[in-house]
């Protein structure tokens, strides 16, 4: 049976709460209200107020509390109502959660769920893709699933991981993306990319909502004899360089697509890694398709112009294929 991306996340949370009583949740409006996106609807009734905790608007405080609980052996899951608000908890995440293991040798099994991304006409404070802010920080794992199957499997893996994991769940995909999810205890390992479409002309390295746009672009280009290979990173940190390089060795051409602005984005790091590790197999410059370096506009027309999509990916991929 096909389920939505949102339902896949709900199932993972439910099953992990059910499986392991150390798992508990904190966040704004996750209890009585059932969460801003209704992901945690019914959790309070089932698991009780001690494991489904409504917090004040105080990201720094409740991430700090979760870190403390994690150090004491609990398995906290923090919901950022919107990933944009994660900046308020930046110090706790970057200076506390990420460093404890290195400083005191204690694991911090914390998951921060970060509903991110645009395409939902929500303006500059509710649409950002902040993954690159954390990509630079040693000690954090970052995952960003693109399908219900990966959403469920990676969330379970994140909850069971002994390290702090930021789980980037794309808001556009919540109800737009449906797919089959394997029955039973389905876990997708952190650190493994997946080739979502085999191709021979250009390797498109991407993640999150851009995977779907890239797959659409691939269909557009197929009649022109341009055969895109779409590599879904799934995990941003630690990055699966082996899969990326294997793909680029096959095609000789690499393109990175992400929704976050281009400058300082993850695409730059991937391009640098390819230049360092796979220079000899490159037949063309590495190309990035990303958003412009501005805040995300509120106007739907402007937002559409701002975000990468299948058409924009196809145009760049066509140029790269012909290079």
């Amino acid at each position: 049976m096909e389920i939505t991306y949102l339902e896949a996340i709900r199932q993972a949370l439910w099953e992990e709460m059910d499986r392991d009583e150390r798992v508990f949740m904190l966040g704004e409006d996750i209890g009585v209200y059932g969460g801003a996106f209704k992901i945690t609807k019914g959790f309070l009734e089932k698991f009780g107020p001690e494991r489904v905790i409504d917090t004040p608007l105080s990201e720094s405080a409740f991430v700090g509390a979760a870190i403390g609980a994690a150090l004491m052996g609990m398995r906290p899951i923090v919901e950022m109502q919107f990933a944009d608000f994660i900046a308020c908890a930046f110090d706790q995440i970057v200076n506390m959660a990420a460093k404890h293991h290195y400083r005191i040798g204690e694991p911090v099994p914390l998951v921060i769920r970060a509903p991110y991304g645009g395409g939902i006409n929500a303006g500059p404070y509710h649409s950002q893709c902040p993954e690159a802010w954390f990509f630079h920080v040693a000690g954090l794992k970052l995952v960003a699933p693109s399908t219900p199957r990966d959403a469920k499997g990676l969330l379970k893996a994140s909850i069971r991981d002994p390290n702090p994991v930021i789980y980037f769940e794309h808001k556009y995909l919540y109800r737009h993306m449906k797919g089959e999810v394997p029955e039973g205890d389905h876990v997708v390992p952190i650190g493994k990319a997946e080739v979502k479409r085999q191709g021979s002309t250009v390797s498109v390295i991407t993640y999150g909502a851009m995977v779907q746009h890239s797959l659409k672009a691939a269909e557009q280009l197929m009649p022109e004899g341009i055969d895109l290979e779409v590599v879904d990173l799934r995990t941003l940190q630690p990055m699966d360089l082996e899969t990326i390089i294997a793909s680029v060795e096959k095609t000789g051409r690499a393109m990175v697509v992400h929704e976050a602005p281009k400058t300082g984005g993850i695409g730059g790091e991937i391009a640098a890694l390819l230049a360092e590790e796979a220079f000899r197999c490159l037949d063309a410059p590495i190309v990035r398709v990303a958003s412009p370096d501005t805040p995300i506009p509120f106007s739907p027309v402007l937002e559409e112009a701002y975000l990468p999509n299948a058409d924009k990916i196809a145009i760049k991929a066509r140029e790269l294929a012909r290079f």
Binding site: G252, F279, R280, C281, L282, D283, A284, R322, F323
Partner: protein, 406 residues
């Protein structure tokens, strides 16, 4: 204080993958001045000497004479001596070394920049499969050779590669008094290139007669002044080169390559000039001959020929010719049937200029005559095209515009 300096096999042109050590000019333990010639190397493109990169003592030889080493391989180590060390800077060798200006390390070209650039993937693949990239037609941006172009080329080539026909060579049996000479690298390279060309291109040679009287008279009258002013000889060959360059502009198929990918019309007009050596033959190249005047071409030809005889050509000097001119007359030949330099499609031989009785307007006169002998690749060029080209060269020579010699 002392440090070890590596002497490595340099990259002598993009298609050269290895070189052979012909002779070590120094023995292990011998003192070497900086820039002093250290080892003689040969490749199938060019012979050269590698100078020492440092002053010191040749401490170890890793590649012995006669051995082949890939580009980048360490050939030897020089143990550097500190400036205050045992070797005085005023070593007598240093002076000698200073004359070997051509061989300073800075001038050994790294991979020469091709006219169209190649991506890392293409270079890697070409090296792996031993492909001369100039043979591959590019379909990428500005005619760039893409990885796919190269893969297609390799696939076609391996399909086309039939087993080489067994040549019915007589079984070798040297009689007691026969002498067996070793085959030099240059000889071997010439042998392979000539055989390959004959097997690749169906050669046809077409011969026109040209009246060189006007040029001969001009030359006779001006040669002393010319050599006084320029330091070089005024040769018939310079006139022929000039005439051929002009005619090639109007006959682009002769400045081309016939490849599996299609007919490659070369944008550059680089004229190879065959130069006889004591032990063989080499064809240095006049680059962009169509953009140069008579004097420049004459000077460059003289320079290339001189450097060829002194074995001072760089790999660049012998690469990327697009057409060749061959002075058959230099050794007395009236005519000949030259072999094309692959992957070119034409070579123009020029015989000795001799005075002969010639019928003009039903009278007999004494004229300076010579033969123009064009060998061409009949896969691409037909007799009519070749004839038109030769007519053009002939007309250029017979009506030579001497005002162009400035």
């Amino acid at each position: 204080m002392d440090t070890m300096t590596k002497i490595v096999m340099p990259q002598m042109g993009e298609s050269v993958a290895e070189g052979t050590v012909v002779a070590w000019l120094k023995k292990v333990g011998e003192v070497v001045a900086k820039d002093e010639p250290l080892v003689a190397i040969t490749t199938d493109k060019v012979d050269f000497e590698i100078p020492s990169l440092a002053a010191g003592v040749l401490s170890e030889i890793l590649v012995q004479e006669g051995q082949v080493a890939p580009v980048g391989a360490v050939l030897a180590y020089i143990e550097e001596t500190a400036p205050t060390g045992a070797v005085p800077p005023e070593s007598p060798k240093a002076e000698e070394a200073a004359t070997v200006a051509h061989a300073t390390p800075a001038e050994i070209p790294p991979a020469p920049r091709p006219e169209t650039w190649y991506s890392p993937a293409v270079l890697e693949l070409a090296k792996e499969h031993g492909v001369d990239l100039e043979q591959v037609r590019g379909t990428g941006t500005e005619g760039r050779v893409t990885r796919k172009d190269l893969l297609d080329f390799i696939a076609r080539r391996s399909k086309a590669a039939a087993p080489a026909p067994q040549r019915g060579a007589e079984p070798f049996a040297a009689a007691a008094q026969d002498q067996i000479l070793p085959v030099s690298h240059l000889r071997k390279a010439i042998a392979e290139n000539m055989l390959r060309s004959k097997q690749t291109a169906p050669h046809v040679t077409q011969i026109h007669e040209v009246d060189m009287t006007a040029i001969a008279r001009y030359r006779e009258a001006n040669k002393d002044a010319f050599s006084r002013q320029t330091g070089i000889n005024l040769t018939f060959l310079s006139f022929v080169v000039q005439a051929a360059v002009d005619a090639l502009r109007g006959h682009p198929l002769l400045n081309a390559s016939y490849t599996d990918e299609g007919i490659v019309l070369k944008r550059a007009l680089n004229i190879g000039i065959a130069v006889a050596l004591e032990d063989g033959l080499i064809v240095p190249v006049l680059r962009e001959a169509d953009k140069k005047g008579f004097l420049t071409l004459a000077k460059e030809s003289a320079d290339l020929a001189a450097r060829a005889r002194e074995k001072r050509l760089s790999p660049e000097d012998v690469q990327r010719g697009t057409f060749t001119v061959n002075n058959l007359g230099a050794f007395g030949a009236l005519m000949g049937t030259p072999i094309i330099v692959q992957p070119q499609v034409g070579i123009l031989g020029f015989g000795r200029v001799v005075k002969r009785p010639v019928v003009i307007n039903d009278t007999i006169g004494i004229r300076s005559m010579a033969y123009l002998c064009l060998s061409y690749d009949h896969r691409l060029i037909d007799g009519a095209y070749a004839g038109a080209f030769l007519n053009h060269v002939q007309a250029n020579l017979e009506g030579f515009d001497f005002s162009t010699i400035q």
